[in-house]
Amino acid sequence: MSAVDTVRNRLDALPDVGLVVAFIASIWAVMLVLAIAVGGANWANLAAGFIGSVTVLIGGYAILALALNLQWGYTGLFNIGIAGFMAVGAYTTAVLTAPTDPAAGAVPGLGLPLWVGLIGGMAMAAIIGGLAALPALRLKADYLAIVTVAFSEIIRLIVNWDGLAEVSLLGVPIGTGGATGISFKSANQVASTFINGVGQPLVAAMEGVGVSGPNLANLTYGILLLLVVAASYWVLARITNSPFGRVLKAIREDETVTQSLGKDTRLFKIKTFMIGCALMGLAGVLFRGQAGYISPQQFRPTITFYVFAALIIGGSGSNTGSIIGAATFSGLLFYLPARLGENVSLGGTRAPGNIIDAVAGLGSLDPLPLLAYTISNVSTLRFVLIGVVLIYIIQNQPDGLLGHRNEPATSVSLDRPQSGSGGEADE
């Protein structure tokens, strides 16, 4: 029995909410232990910082993985243009909410409230997703993949283009800010206002044990993101555990059969694609634009592949698995190694500046320079780890942690009705 099987059996035994909470709590515990181990007197503040950052990451990737799970896990739509749809959502929100009188050198926007911006961003991401889907959804999965990734790069190049950095739309000056990016109403700010207002006693108490205000605000924001995850999960669970979700699964299994049973599969696919893209757009703002600033750099295709890694680890096809996968990916593979690399030191050995000097130590049977070099470059190496994990899972555990589960697509209990229908059941 492999390690994955063991984890899987443990996970199977828990109900879904408990499962997710326990999982995230154990990642927090890991962060806490790390902070205590390396933080010295400052451990509390360090722990708050670690936990806050990891929670924001988990929240962001969980929303994205849930959206991808709807499109790919359920419906089989192989969308690797996630970064592009995130950009559409984030930029729309940014343009809608950026101040009309920005600081010198920055781009003006429409100055609307954040909630208008968020709804606008989701709507625009859904519309652009629908437009892209219209012609593309009849393509084979791997062609759809190439079309969507090309599409996302086109979007990134367009927002990066200085021609749109600042334009006048019907006399109103707006723009994307081009390569420099754009500042707008920050969602993070909302959390920090909240915690510094209502939560003032808490802030004071935490400051007493050394947790800084910004760290606490960041943690608050992470927890807010988890609430968004919970809401998304609730919506997606209702979508997928329904006759609608049943058609989606059927499309993934065999589109021709689904059509032969009277379902206009194109409509279902377009709707699904739009819902998924709306959620990706939301994550674009809340995750990439959390601090109220975005630039084209943040929407490179690599983030798309991280979301795939998260979903595949958790188990494509399972909503709960999407969240668990996002937590595993962002907590254990993405965040933890980088913090370990920063905080682990090898006594007196300083990391050499390049690999030749590091390897040179081996000549005199001294592995420490290479080890030190490796540790100081662990934030690079973690991507090698992510790649290797992805390959390992696809080869050996293609269902990930929870993808083997059958989450039945229905809104009622599927047990045999009791009202004696003949009573000839022979079990």
């Binding site: 192989f78 012609p135 593309a136 393509l139 999965a141 791997d142 062609y143 993949a145 190439i146 079309v147 990734v149 090309a150 599409f151 790069e153 086109i154 190049l157 367009i158 990066n160 283009w161 200085d162 021609g163 592949f305 795939f308 890694a309 595949i312 390049n354 690999i355 030749i356 000097d357 040179a360 470059n377 690079t380 190496l381 991507f383 090698v384 992510i386 790649g387 290797v388 994990v389 992805l390 390959i391 696809i394 080869q395 293609p398």
Partner: protein, 371 residues
Amino acid sequence: MGIAEFASDGRVVMGDRPGAVVVAAVSGFLLLDLVAKLAGTTVFFLGTKLLGGSLTVGSLLSMVVDGLLVGLAVGLAGIGLSMTYSILDFANFAHGDTVTAGAFLGWVAAYITAGLGTGAPISELFMLNSGRQLSTVSTFFPVLLGLVVAGVGSVAVVLLVDRLTYRPMRNTDNISLLIASIGVALALRYLIAFIFGTQTSGVASGGLRVTLFSMISVTDNEITLLVVSVLLMLGVHLLLQRTKLGKAMRAMADNEDLARVTGIPTERVIRLTWILGGGLAGIGGYLLVLESGTISFNFGWILLLLIFAAVIVGGIGSIYGAMAGGILIGLVDSLALIWLPSGLTRASAFLVLIVVLLLRPSGIFGGVSTA
């Protein structure tokens, strides 16, 4: 003609023709615009500029040369992507990083040989940051050696990757293979970053500049790219036409049915596919660095979508299509500057990719046997 037939024909027309008509109209307009620009005239309609402007024949020609050079290297790299796509039946997202790997191996070899005896420390040479700029004329043998190492090195890399990753998955579906290749791409790219760092290094610059037809100016490095890629394409052509294994490969790549009838391709054919495709990818990457002068850990990854465009435009599985598609995409990428601002030229190449996939997924030369 009955209603029914009309209806069914109508569907066909709606499905296929408008796309082609739009593409033809846009191309026609752009061509007209180009002619007007070359003639230096501008056409106004209702007070707004409709087309025209100015463009010298000289700058047009230099754009053509630029596009051709990049296109040749992209086409060279595309051959491998096209072959693995049809013979192993998956879109290999790690191909761009194979290009990078080959280029790094080749340039380290070239750099170290060129730097030996100059007193530069070996670590500086290995990290490609002694500041020295190589060129074909000034350091011919190191550049040639690097070329060979790039080819051989990338073959070693792809064979190892195949052994570890794809071979245990020969019978899995193409999406699983695609995902595995994403894993390979990440691992390979960041392994390169781990070893060589994430900075961009300048390693080459033209040692000699010649002017052809008193209009086009090219460097020795660019001529090397041209000559080497044309020679290699010719070599591939001979291999495919003259050798038995080459013929078998071509048959398998060109003809999906045959591949299906003969079942899973033999390990021998697969190995040759990797060797040929990987080697050409590495050399393509090496040559691109020779031409552009700089190298960084993710340049192949950034190039990948352009290579995909070349392969798809040329028709997946067609080796000649990949070469032609590469040149075409290189030209689009460079000539788009005539009509578009410089920030959007790359987008136009991707747009061509999308349009071809939507309207003619078999490629613009598709259906025509390339034998």
